[in-house]
Symmetry: C2
Subunit: 420 residues, 2 copies
Amino acid sequence: MAKMNKSFLNLEENYLFSKISKRVSDFTEKNPDTPIIRMGIGDVTLPLPAAAVAAGKKAFDEMGVKATFRGYEDSGRGYDFLRIAVANYYKSFGADVPADEIFISDGAKSDSGNIGDIFSDDSIVTITDPAYPVYVDSSIMGGKKVQYANSNEKNGFAAMPCDIDPGGQQGEGKGGQKPDIIYLCSPNNPTGSAYTFEQLKTWIDYATENRAIIIYDAAYEAFITQPDKPRSIYQVEGARKCAIEICSLSKTAGFTGTRCGYTVVPKELRLESPEGKEISLFNTWVRRQGSKFNGVSYPVQRAAEAVFSKDGQRQIAENIARYRENATIIANTLTELGIDFTGGINSPYIWFKCPGGINSWDFFDIMLNQANVVGTPGEGFCKNKLSNNGIDRFRLTAFSTKENTEEAMRRFKKLIETKR
Amino acid sequence: MAKMNKSFLNLEENYLFSKISKRVSDFTEKNPDTPIIRMGIGDVTLPLPAAAVAAGKKAFDEMGVKATFRGYEDSGRGYDFLRIAVANYYKSFGADVPADEIFISDGAKSDSGNIGDIFSDDSIVTITDPAYPVYVDSSIMGGKKVQYANSNEKNGFAAMPCDIDPGGQQGEGKGGQKPDIIYLCSPNNPTGSAYTFEQLKTWIDYATENRAIIIYDAAYEAFITQPDKPRSIYQVEGARKCAIEICSLSKTAGFTGTRCGYTVVPKELRLESPEGKEISLFNTWVRRQGSKFNGVSYPVQRAAEAVFSKDGQRQIAENIARYRENATIIANTLTELGIDFTGGINSPYIWFKCPGGINSWDFFDIMLNQANVVGTPGEGFCKNKLSNNGIDRFRLTAFSTKENTEEAMRRFKKLIETKR
């Protein structure tokens, strides 16, 4: 009988969002007339920028005419027009990324999982905890061993190499095993924290010392406003020798349903072969993609190109400003109430301590039943069961409308003040 | 130092298309004024059907308006509107495929490679030879062991279980090892042969006996005209218990640049866990996709839905008829010249014996230099080096224009008649 990949048995069931939607549907069944404000799932609400819509439509028109029809994209790595647009975008904030190291993808999720395919199954993967669950799940599926770097109150929910857990306990000093792969996400999902230049340099030095590869998820880079936080890891010295960067238009340009992202793989990155030879990581990734990825739809690539145009950039800046305004509304409410939080400044996520330090699922129920607001319990992002970094934390997103965000905060404030 | 997936070292470099384009560019450099007819790569030339263009544009318009904007697709498995359209399409030719077993994909290539992720690394994979190189390459990348079933003149280039090679030599009887996975492609790329109901039943019985899973690539099903050839493996009894089917709109609706396909995973399929328990293959695939796939762009899914509309079906029927006409032109020329071939009837590919039985690369050079026609040497599709199933075969595609196909055949005929 055909045998399953046994690593799948090591996966935890991903109950988080199904558990949330079960509780929400139970509530709405009992309270059909109570409107709920959803600030849980990290999905955008503002429509695609007009420039992207126009470009996507124009591209479909081209596809309908023989003279301008496009079949297979030769490289599968993205059209030059888009790769050049992305390279220029990087240049605009001071990162030097050549177009031929950019791979156009269908979003950050697939590449952040698929990149694991080119690494040895016995790799040690360091992942900050809490984190976007895909890093852990795809590493486990690939048979890799995962260790955690604890993000917690002490480090402002931005784990550093000294926070690597030597096996379940909170580490002091460089604990854990020598890593081969390190997943970092900044601005972070779910904690909203963003690394400074200096902090990222520490991670780069640590990776270089261990000859590990950093997989840097920059999906929220467009939300960065403070000048001491880099928008790309390539703004920091030494990154080209140890880091892959994964980015997405999902949150910055409303592409969660249109699907486009990009991954940067510097040509100088090296992997070790079983014979101890140094192998080009870039070539290995090209080979993987050549057999297992089809490339991104032409109309979608044209829509993405338009995001990087002058009009597109102006339009997404307006959208991001609106989400930032929501984040500020939430952050101000928390500050006013004296509740500890991270995020909200350089990030669309706000990660705060559940009032009274209660369990995040209990707080979820209170928020749902008493304020009719849906958020995400911090526990859902935490896999390191021995440290419970998110057990008393709660995530809200800034992707709702201003009206709903204000209304949610009014209810939240009332709820907290009543409890006190 | 981060270690590479050592299975990548077992991959052969994929020289085929780079070797072809090198020879073609050398030729055009020396002969800048000689027009070349390209019938090598399997890419379409007719534009996207008008119904798909209109639907794609409409969907982009929806994405630009808040009320109709779509963010994340909940399941990542495809919108119901498209899955239902695909299920109805299956029904139209007598295959019973429930919509909730259909996974919308970005094309056949990624799923035919990615499906390997859910099987154990030590799986034995049987692949007909010659074949689409992705089956072998993605199996090797996943650490699996590949054995071949030889397609050759004897079996009309449609390998059967009795053609499984017991280790390099042509097998008589059921050779080789007990397989866990079997890749079949019908109508076949590159040989153009299509399995009959009876032949597929033999494969299904063989897979059932061995409790193996068939991965059935039906990307060319729309080219089938003869009633004894099924368009889906699910038209054959027993398939739901052993087969996954992968299909694509690339060739049938000109989606090579727009990117959409679908994969059918029956819920009754089972995999064996290390403890000998039976595990749902469907659930395992859902889990894999949930962590490693982003779903397909909404405008692309709407364009695909339109392909299955009445207008869309009429429009693609016209396109397919034109490609079929080209196939007939090629087939008639070969018949007239007394050259042995397969395909051309139920397939856009024509696979023929190089005149005089010469090596396929030598024939490639003759075709290029003397007839100025580019085809694909059969050797490029063959990985079983001990049997050399395609060493004296050549593939032409019917995806060119009628004018070019006719002109190519005039030159081909002249070339052959001059040599005789």
